[in-house]
Symmetry: C2
Subunit: 405 residues, 2 copies
């Protein structure tokens, strides 16, 4: 539909009745500017956790079907409350659960994927001047059981609705006013990004994940739905995520991310036989541990060094698996280093600009920051550094690529 | 279905996770005794009020559709939590909302009437050894909107399900262990009634309303579904409400009720013309005020006295209406007495026992309790007395009819 915007308000945006009033005012102000609005809401901040705590008191690992039926109630409360606030402002409004809307998902409780949305009801409402308020985060499977889409799933609901309704834009209202060039807590010169393309946003996931669910960006990217991240607490401009590449004139680098919960596992002097990487990594993957950066160095004397990173929480388990493994590999020493950080520069601009890597490594060298590992993709270069150097690395790179300009 | 019991647990019975554990144990103990159980639950104590308060902060008179969508979430939480507690005890269990069950109602938000229940899902579950836990209080109208059945509506859900499933019995678990011969707070010799017929229970409404919703008794009476009131906090026997009349051998009187929120309005010396009662009472009814006991005395000289009772909260409004009215009636004086109490003796036994009224009036006279008004039905005699005498009246009658025996 033309002239339609889907707006999603997260838990902090609807934390109490004062916040519902503020959100209702934001919706009204959008409508008064001449657009139609469909609203998606999360549960009030803290509510989902309260329900999870209740569930865990009754069953340590709660049954997935009942867990979803339980936690989805929080969004139902929010949707009804916002509809009341809109009605109090003399707007027609109706709340909808996934059941009422026919928002179908697969059967994966707790991380369900949306399979179809019946938009008839919403379209009729919009045509009748009714503002629909839809429960985020929830769906219904083929058996009619309530499912949930996983943490941050309301973002995905909003993007999926925007796609299904062919909206002009999906606006994600949250408690920060956009995506920044780096975490402002790490470097105070971090600057809000006005516009960014889907590809960059996905690579900036560790920045973005604090702002919006990455799955919703994938979804938006696939269907080319523009997503705007905005604050419901201030009226600054936000960040627009679109499919437009910025082209030659754009900044080479759009953002810098850094992690603080990674570990490095080094396997030294393992026999350099074909398929050694698979032999090492398969048992780690099978244990459900995600592997991030992988580097293999050619060693000497038919021996090789093999290094990879995992999240801290999985490092001890991974080290144990490797210890069992080296016995069957015919040699090798294992080292586990917990205090590392992965610093990445991201930007579609680097596709067309040579020498980004060289500038990056030079800037780090000038600050005496040692690079442990390097990993590159078409629009991202990541380096692994000692954790105590990560802030300095972010600062150096932010200055080098002039992201505060 | 044979060998099936519907059990309803109210808000105080599921006030916290400890209570959910206790209720799950009660359900399990019933199942272990060899019956199939379908459970109906209310919202956790305080939860519905919490949601109502939120709604009222956003809209003084909340929109009925959204109000119902909002408050019905409390039962969804309870149903899921109880299902978790049953699963933790290794029983198959599934929670169901009205939507999922096809529990249809009319369109009267806030006081909807159940129109149909699709029992297929429940029957299949029972046949598969699954314990269904159904949200009380809620339904769905023809448009798919969530409706609620009014305060205490979970009792009605339970009785309606018991009727639809042709259960053997509907058990209402609450925080008192049954219906008493009178309010134990009024007379400590009050005794729990083991068995009572629907007719008596309906007349004992002012006692019963504290224990179970009267509409559910009407429903049970219509379909002859035995209802047992039990405490979820103790394992005493409860009260069975059935269609069996106790017959000749039964007690003459089964219970005594007294009210403490009635007012008496007296119209003296109004012209005794045909239709005077209608002229007086119509404007009161039209104002939405329920009239309880009505007495008209033949006066002298073509004048008559007319007295009736209303709830205290409506008494000033009723008096104002009468003041306007007497001007058009051609005379009359109005008196409003707020401190009155209606004391009633109830029992199907009085049908076959003459002299119950005489015994009642004599017992009251012996205690110097003055009777203001008298009203009788086939199985009830009510007297209006001064409020400061109501406890003495209940005590005298309880002793007279030996209800503690």
């Amino acid at each position: 539909m033309n002239n339609l915007i889907v707006q999603k308000y997260g838990g902090t945006s609807v934390a109490n009745t004062e916040r519902f009033q503020a959100v209702a005012d934001l919706v009204v102000s959008s409508i008064n500017s001449g657009v139609n609005v469909v609203v998606v809401v999360s549960a009030m901040a803290g509510e989902t956790q309260r329900l999870i705590n209740l569930a865990k008191e009754l069953q340590e690992t709660p049954d997935p079907r009942e867990y979803d039926a339980l936690v989805s109630s929080g969004e139902q409360v929010s949707a009804a409350l916002l509809a009341l606030a809109l009605k109090e402002r003399n707007f027609l409004s109706k709340s909808y659960t996934a059941h009422q809307l026919g928002l179908k998902t697969d059967n994966s409780h707790g991380k369900a994927r949306i399979s179809s949305i019946d938009t008839d009801t919403l379209k009729k409402d919009i045509d009748s001047g009714i503002v629909p308020v839809v429960t985020g985060f929830q769906g219904v499977n083929a058996s009619g059981d309530i499912t949930t889409l996983g943490r941050g799933g309301s973002d995905t609901t909003a993007v999926a609705l925007a796609v299904a309704l062919k909206a002009d834009e999906c606006q994600i209202f949250t408690d920060v006013d956009g995506v920044y060039t780096t975490d402002p807590n790490v470097y105070k010169k971090a600057k809000k990004i006005e516009k960014i393309c889907f590809e960059e946003m996905l690579e900036l996931s560790s920045l973005g994940a604090k702002v919006l669910q990455i799955r919703s960006v994938e979804f938006a990217s696939k269907y080319e739905m523009p997503v705007r991240v905005l604050s419901s607490f201030s009226s600054t401009g936000g960040t627009l995520i679109t499919n437009e590449e910025s082209g030659l004139e754009s900044a080479v680098i759009s953002g810098i991310t850094c992690t603080d919960d990674d570990s490095k596992l080094i396997l030294r002097n393992v026999p350099d036989t074909p398929g050694i990487a698979a032999k090492i990594l398969s048992p780690i993957s099978k244990a459900g541990i995600d592997i991030d950066v992988i580097v293999q160095n050619v060693g000497s004397d038919k021996l090789t060094d093999f290094t990879f990173t995992v999240k801290n929480e999985h490092s001890n388990k991974a080290a144990k698996i490797l210890n069992d493994l080296v016995k069957t590999l015919g040699g090798g020493e294992i080292e586990l280093v917990k205090d590392i950080s992965k610093v990445s520069v991201v930007g579609v601009g680097m596709k067309s600009h040579a020498g980004v890597a060289a500038r990056m490594f030079k800037a780090l060298a000038e600050k005496q920051i040692n690079i442990d590992m390097i990993s590159t993709s078409e629009i991202k270069i990541s380096v692994v550094v000692s954790k105590d150097k990560s802030k300095a690395a972010v600062t150096a790179l932010h200055d080098e690529f002039e992201l505060d300009k």
